[in-house]
Subunit: 600 residues, 2 copies
């Protein structure tokens, strides 16, 4: 998206350009800075990443990194981000503050002492400004869906319209039709609004979550900012065990992107991991607890019904969804229908009062190639379609979760069926993984399936890291997972012909053709690694101005020939002459014959 576009990002050109964490870390040249596109009102400023090219042009890219990459904004994880949406929410006048549910020790898993020390470290309590939770004043839905259906274009809708470069009316229509969701809990005013729907850019979710064994609250907050730094559009906090409530508070108050959770995990903690002891009351209380904190969307496995459980008996890998197996265990223990399915309407009323978006979980998704597209999976999907219609009656925004492990030839059936059964509600898939044989590379086995299913209509992709099936992702795994999924999402945007998507590829390819190495690095999805790999084999500075690439070397350069051809057969003359004359001078300094055979 070059700034030939209608809206030009507003930014002070006197300010230092370098805001790139990666640039600061590596002490590398200045390549981009944070800018804002203003909407119809002064408090509606949409962040973009503005990349400055050495040819004087600039390219603006969608930016998920939040205020952390703006040097003019002071951030302090102990205070949290400023509540960007607070005035918009208050101005609607349909919500009110209230005392809220008291936080209990068991919310942090402290009912029992444990070998690892029982009492919560009080320093961990979030120290930011005191706040009261907010909910619907009169029990009516305060959801973006309700507003859209009433024909209202909220500031949140205009914000995402600017972000996606579409008209606010398109955003309203897609939300009103249930084809898109704008997850934005009234208790999470800190977020920069974003939208999930097949008409918009494909989004990527990154899962984080503390392990009672290995990570701390600070680490989780850092993982969240790290994931959004690389392009995660939403983050799911799958924390379990100790300090689960407090960890979530820290993550929410510091997150510029919507936060999703699986309330069932915390509910299970409250009954000490004994699925059969779960009750609707404990579950609902946990949902309210999390809604008051500001969780923007919740995975609910209400589609795992008692009659479906036997359908998994002869599967190769049974039930692999944790939430799904918790509910299956409950159904089996009581031989009763799922309490989530039975109480779904009441749950809708609760979510509507905070604008929490449903992510209807696919608890029976296949966990192996052999189980893909089986009766258990599709029986649950049909129930999700039924629940989606109920949620819409209550004006609750809803997306549908999808698999899993699916071979390539069975992927399209998943998205086609889901769109048909669920009235085109946004599909949110985990991969799918296209083979089972590559543990340690499941970001790739699933990146393949993710790109394909997103091309065919999936709106958001849940990332998979190299540690899938093996262990807990560390900082590097989170980055690898996010980058891999940004590739899948962007490849899908290209295949869908999303307006403006290809401008990014074109800008990078122009830089490649014209040997603007610094521009190639700065436009890359991961500038640090691209620069580092280049510098590994080519002499640093001269090579960055050399007019050859790794496919040929200086002695014979296919790009140069192509430029001569352009010169001989039409194409702009000066773009070639000016370029080559300049490059030749620079190259004299570089010297040194280098051949780097990669591909023919």
């Amino acid at each position: 998206m070059t700034n030939k576009d209608a809206r030009t990002p507003v930014s002070n050109q006197d300010e230092p350009l370098n805001q790139g964490e990666e640039s600061q870390e590596a002490g590398k040249s200045i390549g981009w800075h944070k800018a804002y596109v203003e909407g119809s009102r002064p408090d509606l400023r949409v962040p973009v990443r503005q990349v400055h090219l050495t040819n004087g042009q600039s390219v603006t890219l969608y930016d998920t990194s939040g205020p952390y990459t703006d040097p003019h904004v002071e951030t302090d994880v102990r205070r949290g981000l400023s509540p960007l949406r607070e005035n918009w929410i208050i101005a609607r006048g349909d919500t009110e503050e209230y005392a809220g549910r008291p936080v209990r020790p068991e919310d942090d898993g402290l009912k029992h002492t444990s070998p690892r020390g029982g009492l919560r470290n009080l320093d961990a309590v979030f120290p930011g400004r005191p706040r009261l939770p907010r909910r619907s004043r009169d029990g009516n839905a305060v959801t973006q869906l309700a507003y859209a259906r009433r024909g209202e274009i909220t500031p949140e809708m205009e914000y995402v319209a600017v972000r996606e470069k579409v008209s606010p009316e398109v955003v309203r229509e897609e939300i009103a039709a249930g084809r898109a969701v704008l997850p934005a809990n009234v208790n999470h005013p800190e977020i920069e609004p974003m939208i999930i729907g097949k008409r918009f850019l494909v989004k990527v979710n990154a899962n984080i979550g503390n392990s009672a064994v290995t990570s701390s609250i600070e680490e989780e907050v850092e993982k969240m900012t790290w994931a959004t730094r690389w392009g995660a559009d939403t983050v799911m906090d799958l924390s379990t065990g100790r300090n689960i409530h407090t960890t979530r508070e820290w993550v929410l108050r510091n997150s510029p992107v919507p936060i999703g959770t699986v309330p069932l995990y915390q509910a299970l903690e409250k009954v000490d991991g004994r699925a059969e002891e779960l009750t609707w009351e404990i579950y609902k209380d946990t949902v309210i607890e999390q809604a008051e904190q500001g969780v923007d969307y919740m995975t609910v496995h209400a589609g795992v019904r008692l009659p479906y459980v036997p359908l998994t008996a002869n599967r190769k890998t049974g039930i692999v969804s944790r939430g799904g197996s918790i509910m299956a265990a409950w159904c089996l223990a009581h031989h009763k229908e799922s309490f989530l399915y039975e109480n779904f309407e009441e749950l809708c009323e609760t979510l509507a009062a905070y604008d929490v978006t449903y992510s209807l979980g696919d608890g029976l998704r296949p966990g192996s190639i052999a189980d893909a597209n089986d009766e258990a999976q599709f029986a649950e999907l049909r129930t999700l379609g039924e629940l989606n219609r109920i949620a819409k009656r209550f004006n609750v925004q809803t997306m549908i979760e999808g698999p899993g492990h699916v071979p390539m030839h069975k992927i399209k059936e998943n998205i086609d069926l889901q769109q048909e059964i669920c009235d085109e509600a946004p599909f949110y898939t985990l991969g799918p993984l296209t083979t089972d044989v590559a543990p340690a590379y499941d970001h790739i086995t699933s990146g393949i399936g993710a790109a394909m299913i997103a091309w065919w209509g999936t709106a958001m992709l849940c990332y998979v890291t190299p540690k899938e099936h093996l262990g807990l992702p560390n900082r590097d795994d989170v980055k690898t997972g996010v980058i891999t999924y940004k590739i899948a999402a962007h490849a899908a945007d290209l295949a869908k012909g999303h307006p403006g998507a290809q401008e990014w590829d074109d800008a990078l390819s122009d830089a490649r053709f014209e040997f603007r190495w610094e521009d190639q690095f700065n436009l890359a999805l991961d500038p640090d690694t691209a620069r580092e790999f280049h510098d590994e084999t080519l002499p640093a500075e001269p090579a960055k101005t050399a007019h050859f690439c790794s496919m040929c070397g200086p002695k014979f350069c296919s790009m140069k020939i192509s430029q001569d051809i352009r010169l001989l057969h039409g194409g702009s003359q000066d773009e070639v002459e000016e370029g080559m004359a300049q490059k030749s001078k620079e190259f004299a300094a570089a010297g040194n014959r280098v051949y780097l055979p990669i591909a023919d």
Copy 2:
């Protein structure tokens, strides 16, 4: 492919199981060994990788690693591999040894001295047994295509039939029809025959090649064995600069897989990099030089015709194929038709005399998303179709190279057009890369496209490493490239419903479901990394017997629930009881509550 299969691998069970280089390195437990499936004659023994599972079963996998992983075979890179096919070739009686072309200093790029020291290090000359080159006795084609058309099933054909678990007649038919190639130069008797065609397992090629700057002959030989160790089915030696002839000799004599080259690269060396000085005579002499050494297939850019060069003038990235731009430069310099196109029939006669397989190069492939499927690309493809028919007249085996950079929605048109225009000749594609924006991750951007195009019919995939566009791949990059492409190839085998392909996934998923961690590792495409990642987060030994996975932790295990479900609702009872009783005992020792949130 479990040994329920008809043929049972022959192996001495007394011998130590551990042949895995990775296992020895890591000092890890013994999980597999090299075995052989015997054909109809004692000298026809097809290697397989036999994985031994802790439940007493075993799984046999396709093996490309050559004698290096057989402890009963002594290998010495200075002597080379034993000539497995020599007697088969001699027995056909249609070839003869001859003096051969004298090796000249310029074959090793030594015509001129250079800053890096002119004279070749004599130690580098391959010291193995002296050999005379061999060629057709009477000028008739001595190709597998000629034999197949005559109705002959050669030992090579039977060998690949055993490897692919199909009947020899199917192999003969596919070769005779030109839908498959069996690259096997009469001067490369060391190879273990393999086949490339859409009816067979999708194959992967790995590119290696010395850089005058950074790598040595020994490193290239090591890169070749390393690539085949991880599953490369063929290797292309793209060496340039010094010692190009000698490097190739070392690689050929030690390679268990077919070797491909781009003769144009060496021909260009012989004219000191001045494309305009290339002549048909220099090129043909180079082809004979390489054919006598035993190169199994050669990329020939005869489709880059003078009239097509202007079609690239207004492309975003012009010509990115090195061979393509060399030929374009020649055509421009002389304003004459390509000498490769003009002399194609004579070239066919030469290749037919050694059974060198054509890989007709796509010199005008797109180098950016913007240039995909344009007129330049498809004009060349139509010419490749014409050249394919000529090659077949001369009984020369032929495959067709494909792109490149192609967005997902334009990939299928590539394979469909190629199959139509080239009479179903095997397609051999580089990726395609599905976006330009991720330098340093192009193994992934291209792995996505590779999996899709292979599903749709591409027979062999040329790998792309993380260093593509940036630098020279090192040992780790080669491994990452090969593993990524083995994933793409196997995902395609699954989607094509290739017989037996899913048995591998099923065996691994069974191991996962039954918590047989060691079996999961040993069945993995990369056992080392899978084991290493697992051990990073879970306590080593107990965790490998713990009956929980990283999605749930021990306190609540979805797999256990699934097993209970299987118990309650049919499914084998003892498989559950025996398993769970055992695991419970083991787990008592493991203790330690672990939660590893990955995906819900």
